[in-house]
Amino acid sequence: MSLLTIDGVWKEFRGHSVLRGIDLEVRPHEVVSLIGASGSGKSTLLRCVNLLETVDDGAIYLDGEEITDPRVDVDDVRRRLGIVFQAFNLFPHMTVLDNITLAPRRVHGVAKAAAEEQAGDLLARFGLADKARSYPDQLSGGQQQRVAIVRALATKPRLMLLDEVTSALDPVLVVEVLQVIRELKESGMTMILATHEMGFCRDISDTVCFLEGGVMLEKGPPEKIFTAPEHARTREFLRAVLDSGRL
């Protein structure tokens, strides 16, 4: 059974359709990438899955349960999902450790000591052990984004949503964040990532989806999308990416 099912989702902002009937299935341990130009609807789709946006039509199912039902407890759904944002969005008034243990302690009721031990393990795993007591503004962008990923992981989510997590980083820092995502895949984490890192996307994805104007024009394994795309628009997009030197 699929872990997440997106069924004909529409989303409008002030009369302008941002998502126009998106369908997607994500199986456990699958890594799905969303590619496409800015404004194609990638981020909006992730925010709909996280219920930060309410869909205007269609439905989203998590573990077979419809989460777009207005009677569903949104906090309960979000407890099962982890999201990482382009701008990190760490809490600036808390140390790295407090950022990570906030949700386990205050939402999942884990005791302080246990939460901190678990956070310490995660930090060590991603090479951040010495940063536990630092504040976000004392870290580089890449370190901040790794902390944000650890923060999302600390609640043991069923599914991770990564929203252009490297777009605010310089090329050197991109590498360290991508390495973390690779590790997550190896550990079997199910992920949906919106990304502009085409080389990485090709490497890591099981399925690549090309979005344009809120429509999923093409979907398939990376070898197919990147070498033999069916749709003319996909070819144009990939050529543009190639010409800009980002592949």
């Binding site: 930060l52 999902l81 969005n89 809490f91 906030l102 949700a103 205050r106 939402v107």
Partner: protein, 282 residues
């Protein structure tokens, strides 16, 4: 100075630049000093040569009455400090609660939100002195069980009602200044609205509103004298009593000086905090 830690010797050109900068800085300081002295002398000459100066000096700057009034006004001033110290925490509590009430969006809390809005609208509109009058004379007149009749308590209630509305608005501005992405991050971790407020939004908002809050508290320190209007013997009231029997206004000068002595450290502290915040964001 001329040699840095890495052993690089400053060039002749750079030394010349620094010499010019130092001499300019010295010149600025001397100009500022000279113009201050000139200004003070001008004001003193102007005031002391005015036709009414001997009379004003006698009425407002009488050393004899200054010494006589000081003990009573000072003891009254201790009451001002007491009122301030009691009212301040109460105002903070009211301010935070009202600001939070205005931020709740759940439909069941509509009456709470409406009430909080009504409260800030009313108490920001009514002059503090009127609030103190209404509370001081109006509340006891109800003759309800449990309503305090002590005038100082009533004065504190009046000040709290009036300033609570201002402080609530300061907190609300602070809450709204926290970027929505912080709320999105907290909510997506599964934190409820209440926990998001408590752990993420309020701590950040509070740090930002400290300078404007201190500004309101400086204002509160002097507005404690408004409580005089309903009777308690605080600094202003003491000064009034002495002035009325002595036909001399020097006691008011005493009271003013005491208030200034209290507010200036607070004002400098506020400036210091504001400067620190600027540096951090800088």
């Amino acid at each position: 100075m001329s040699e840095t830690s890495e052993g690089w010797a400053k060039s002749e050109r750079q030394r010349e630049r620094e010499r010019v900068r130092r001499s300019r800085a010295r010149r600025s300081v001397s100009i500022a000093g000279a113009s201050t002295v000139v200004f003070i002398v001008l004001v003193v000459v102007l005031v002391t040569n005015s036709p009414g100066w001997p009379r004003v000096q006698e009425l407002f700057f009488n050393p004899e009455w200054f010494v006589k009034a000081l003990p009573d006004v000072l003891s009254g001033f201790l009451l001002n400090i007491k009122i301030f110290l009691i009212a301040e925490p109460l105002i903070l509590v009211v301010g935070v609660l009202v600001a939070l009430a205005r931020s709740i969006t759940a439909p069941a809390f509509f009456p709470v939100r409406a009430l909080a809005t009504l409260y800030t609208d009313i108490f920001r509109g009514v002059p503090t002195i009127l609030v103190i009058y209404l509370v001081g004379f109006g509340l006891p007149a109800l003759r309800l069980q449990g309503i305090p009749t002590d005038l100082v308590t009533l004065g504190v209630i009046g000040l709290t009602l009036s300033y609570g509305a201002y402080v609530a608005e300061v907190f609300r501005a602070g809450i709204e200044s926290v970027h929505p992405s912080q709320v999105a991050a907290a909510r997506s971790l599964g934190l409820s609205h209440g926990k998001t407020m408590r752990f993420v939004v309020l701590p950040q908002a509070t740090r930002r509103v400290v300078p404007p809050l201190l500004n309101d508290f400086i204002s509160l320190q002097k507005d404690t004298s408004l409580v005089a209007t309903i009777g308690p013997l605080e600094a202003l009231r003491q000064a009034q009593i002495i002035a009325a029997s002595a036909f001399n206004y020097t006691p008011y000068l005493v009271a003013s000086l005491l208030f200034i002595l209290l507010t200036i450290p607070m004002a400098r502290f506020t400036d210091h905090l504001a400067a620190r915040t600027r540096r951090r964001r800088g």
